[in-house]
């Protein structure tokens, strides 16, 4: 009981850090990933090639290596010290973690979104072209809305992986849930109890995220739902 009183407030403090790390890196990573997914479809070989190799490099190496490379490695390059904006990012653990997480999730997001974009029926894009829509409008009104509906379930999984990925920030001195949990474990020796409380926090966070994604999915797919519901109603008068 005493332990719970001690551990819960500390871990809740960590929860806030975990949440901010996730939110900021997902916000940056989603946009980067979208850009990379569009680049993959480019006609220019070097543009699509860059996006492909980016994705291979970030998906083929552990996130921990990426975090260490950014946190310990980049500081060694002289010119980064001379650029204030870059140095601001590199000089602090949590900002490094956000950078690494954002770059990492961008690679996975680009694969997920590309899958969605490829699945958009060619006829719809041709129809939009025939209507005289510009490239940007075509993407905004036709391709992206269809792709995101296709990609949403897989993106939900990626969000859960991101929440779990933030735990690696604890290895570069950022105190989020796992960081505090490790500290509590070595202070109280109540290994299992601390794990259970921290685990429940993560599970709750992930369940809420999955619930949110399902809600968004339901809202976006309501045309399919209302169609099946309204069919009998429409059929009744004619019958």
């Amino acid at each position: 009981m005493e332990l719970i009183q001690l551990a819960v407030p500390v871990l809740l403090k960590g929860l806030w850090m975990t949440l901010s790390l996730t939110a900021i890196s997902v916000a940056i990573g989603f946009n980067l990933g979208l850009g990379l997914a569009i680049m993959r479809g480019s006609d220019k070989a070097w543009v699509s090639g860059f996006a492909r190799y980016y994705s291979i490099a970030f998906r083929g190496t552990p996130l921990l290596v990426q975090i260490f490379l950014i946190y310990y490695g980049l500081g060694q390059i002289r010119f980064i010290h001379d650029i204030p904006a870059l140095w601001w990012v590199i000089s602090e653990g949590s900002r490094c973690a956000v950078l690494a997480l954002a770059l990492n999730t961008a690679a996975y997001t680009s694969e997920i979104l590309r899958g969605g974009l490829v699945a958009v029926p060619a006829g719809l894009v041709e129809a939009a072209k025939a209507c005289g829509m510009s490239r940007v409008m075509r993407f905004r009104r036709i391709e992206f809305p269809l792709a995101i509906r296709q990609a949403l379930p897989a993106y939900g999984n990626e969000l859960v992986l991101m929440v779990k990925g933030t735990s690696l920030a604890s290895t570069i001195t950022v105190l989020e849930i796992t960081g505090y949990a490790k500290r509590l474990m070595s202070q109280t020796f109540a290994i299992f109890e601390v794990f259970a409380i921290a685990g429940v926090l993560y599970l709750a966070l992930n369940l809420i995220l999955i619930g949110l994604i399902r809600t968004v999915e339901c809202r976006l797919m309501r045309h399919t739902r209302s169609a099946s519901k309204s069919l009998p109603a429409l059929a009744l008068p004619t019958a």
Binding site: G60, V65, Y72, T178, L207
Partner: protein, 235 residues
């Protein structure tokens, strides 16, 4: 920034990195094998909806897949270190235990994680086997052991293979996490090298490249096996 690769070469780090890579691969392969054993058993339990046990499996897979790998590694490592040391001292093989312990607990942790993901993959593959095939085998009077060996297992393997490939890729990357508890694998070697030469950039870059090589080469191997397993078109 006058480093370089020369320093890595002269310091004898190439051998250390190769040894680290070998440990990483050994941990990855061992964990994958145990993970597949766990996954097959748990996948079958979930598929058959064995009363009671399937809820237990559900609990196991949701906890492992919802909680960060690092936290699980901390639990298994810190949770067992005292217990194991005590046992080892009682039986008088403390030194032996020290050497093997990190490897053992690492494989246990990574197997538990890859087992949870394998369970889901194998359950999905089992669910995708046409019911008629199994019914036909039952109707022919085949004993259940042969139904499993001849009908279920081959189809399960073929359908699950791409998913197992994904699990392998995550597993080999997860092994990097155990460097935080001290096993001398690739990541730990890079960490030590970076610390003692004050040259983290080159060491972590090398580590990243070695991981990339492991994942890319194994990807090629998996693709080859997948081509053999998939039914030939037009045959």
């Amino acid at each position: 920034m006058e480093f370089g690769l020369l320093q890595v070469w002269e310091g004898g780090w190439v051998g250390a990195i190769l040894r680290g890579a070998a440990v990483t691969i050994a941990v990855g392969v061992a964990s994958m094998i145990f993970g597949l054993i766990i996954g097959t058993i748990c996948g079958l339990i979930k598929w058959r909806a064995v009363f009671g046990l399937s809820h237990l499996v559900d609990f196991y897979t949701s906890v492992i897949r919802g909680v960060p790998e690092l936290l699980i590694i901390y639990l298994l490592f810190f949770g067992s270190v005292e217990f194991v040391t005590k046992i080892a001292t009682v039986f008088g093989f403390a030194e032996l235990a020290d050497a093997g312990y990190a490897f053992f607990i690492t494989v246990a942790a990574i197997s538990a994680i890859s087992g949870a993901y394998s369970t889901e993959v194998i359950r999905g593959a089992l669910a995708a086997i046409p019911k008629g095939h199994i019914e036909a085998a039952v109707a022919l009077g085949l004993p259940s052991r042969r139904i499993f060996a001849r009908i279920i297992a081959p189809q399960m393997l073929r359908i699950a293979f791409p998913g197992i490939n994904n699990v392998w890729q995550t597993t080999i990357k997860d092994t990097a996490l155990v460097s935080v508890v001290g096993l001398q694998e690739l990541m730990r070697t890079a960490f030590i090298g970076a610390g003692s030469t004050h040259n983290p950039l080159i060491f972590y870059s090398i580590a990243a490249l070695v991981y990339l090589m492991i994942t890319l080469i194994s990807q090629v191997g998996f693709n080859k096996v997948e081509a053999v397993l998939s039914p030939r078109k037009g045959a």
